[in-house]
């Protein structure tokens, strides 16, 4: 402060005035800069929010499209398979049946019975594809284990699932959504990754249920998942994202630190409102 204690005091008022003015300009400059910088950040965030909204719209569209595709598939199954089967059975059981000989009548009835059995099986298969009976009756653990056993049984991939803490079952609808996500992930792994094994681990903590899929094929990481999710293609991943959204859960794709296998982790709230 001694440098400011000048001998000639005539210039001090001027110096004080200029100093104060400079300090005030500096202060105003800093404040204005902070406000403008922050506004810029907010604008950027709003833009991000808008993009997020667009992404949600894509997910919604994907979900609707998926629903339509599923309806079309069921309609095609019923129209192309169940329809002709029942029509054929009706042909065997027409009014001329009474005029036929007994042996021919028996043959027609047996044929019609066989066709009806096939139709029943077909309807059952369609129904099972809509809602797997193991899932409905025995829960997610049994359905998932069953799915992995079937995959492993095919011999192409070594698949296994282990549930550590699933004493508290999710609601049926939530279980179905989780099961569909697992199915979709496994399907993607089988289709695109060329994996030798798939392993699923389940655990729980507090109000959350955790599921982690490991596989040694070619996988994706979170950034790639986000990128694919923004694309108009890739219905499967969008369905996964929209289902996770319905479950109010989160999904995370990553590669293990050893770089040998990929991991997909699902976090699902136990008391999800579905």
């Amino acid at each position: 402060m001694f440098f400011l204690q000048v001998q000639d005091t005539s210039g001090i008022p001027r110096l004080m005035f200029v100093g104060t003015l400079a300090m005030l300009i500096l202060a105003i400059g800093i404040i204005v800069f902070v406000i403008f910088h922050q506004r810029k950040v907010i604008r950027y965030q709003l833009q991000m929010k808008k993009l997020e909204g667009e992404k949600q719209q894509i997910l919604l569209n994907a979900s609707i499209r998926f629903q339509e595709e599923e309806r079309q598939r069921i309609a095609a199954d019923l129209h192309d398979d169940a329809g002709p089967l029942l029509a054929t059975a009706r042909l065997y059981l027409n009014e001329n049946l009474v005029n036929q000989e007994k042996a021919q009548q028996l043959q027609s009835i047996l044929s019609a019975k066989q066709i009806i059995d096939d139709a029943i099986l077909l309807v059952r298969n369609i129904s099972h594809s809509l809602m797997p009976p193991t899932l409905k009756n025995f829960g997610l653990e049994s359905a998932t284990t069953d799915l992995f056993q079937k995959i492993s049984g095919s011999g192409s991939v070594n698949a296994s699932a282990r549930f550590h803490d699933y004493r508290e079952r999710l609601k049926v609808d939530a279980e179905l959504l989780v099961f569909r996500i697992i199915q979709e992930l496994v399907n993607n792994i089988l289709k695109h990754s060329n994996a030798g094994f798939i392993h699923l681990t389940q655990n729980a903590n507090g109000n959350h249920l955790y599921l982690r899929l490991h596989h040694d094929g070619k996988g994706i990481v979170q950034s790639e998942f986000d990128k694919l999710n923004h694309n108009t293609h890739g219905l499967g991943l969008k369905n996964i994202a929209s289902r996770m959204k319905v479950l109010n859960g989160r999904i995370f794709f990553e590669i293990d630190s050893s770089q040998t296998y990929y991991k997909v982790t699902l976090e699902v709230p136990k008391n999800t409102i579905v």
Binding site: M1, M23, V34, R162, N203, Y210, S258, E267
Partner: protein, 159 residues
């Protein structure tokens, strides 16, 4: 007050522990100068420290991701008021003992009054700030005790 506005723990500790040497210095300065003389050194240090802390507060605000404008924040307006006061009166305080000329004194009073009134007006504006609650951080934080990595490539091959 500034202590509560800041987020970084280490800076909060610095503020807290700097009170002791500052108080000791002020007592020493008071003892040396005497009761009848005005000493501006403790005040200059105080003003300087406040200016630094407020600049840091602004820097911290710039680093923080927010969803609403800064001018809706009460703490921002309080800091703006104090910043105006401390920066505006900084030179007044430095030169307060340089001259006893009546013209200089009246100019000093004028600047001090203008800055203080501005500070009070800004503090009044702070009362109208419509503060919003802060958002939550979103990330997949799996608790450490959840075992999801029992699996490893080696034990899988061994099975």
């Amino acid at each position: 007050m500034i202590y509560n506005f800041l987020r970084i723990g280490i800076l909060k500790k610095i503020i807290l522990y700097s009170i002791i040497p500052f108080v000791l210095f002020s007592i020493y300065d008071f003892y040396i100068i005497g009761a009848n003389t005005f000493s501006n050194y403790p005040l200059i240090i105080e003003f300087f420290a406040f200016i630094i802390f407020i600049i840091y507060f602004f820097y911290e605000k710039m680093q923080t991701v927010v969803l609403y404008p800064l001018y809706q924040n009460i703490s921002f307006w309080i800091c703006v008021a104090l910043f105006t006061y401390f920066t505006g009166n900084f030179f007044v305080l430095i030169f307060s003992k340089s001259s006893y000329d009546s013209e200089f004194k009246s100019q000093m009073k004028l600047i001090y009054s203008f800055i203080t009134i501005t500070k009070n007006i800004i503090l009044c504006l702070a009362m109208f700030a419509n503060e919003q609650p802060e958002g939550t951080d979103e990330s997949l934080n799996i608790p450490n005790d959840v075992n999801l990595d029992e699996f490893s490539l080696t034990n899988y091959k061994n099975n």
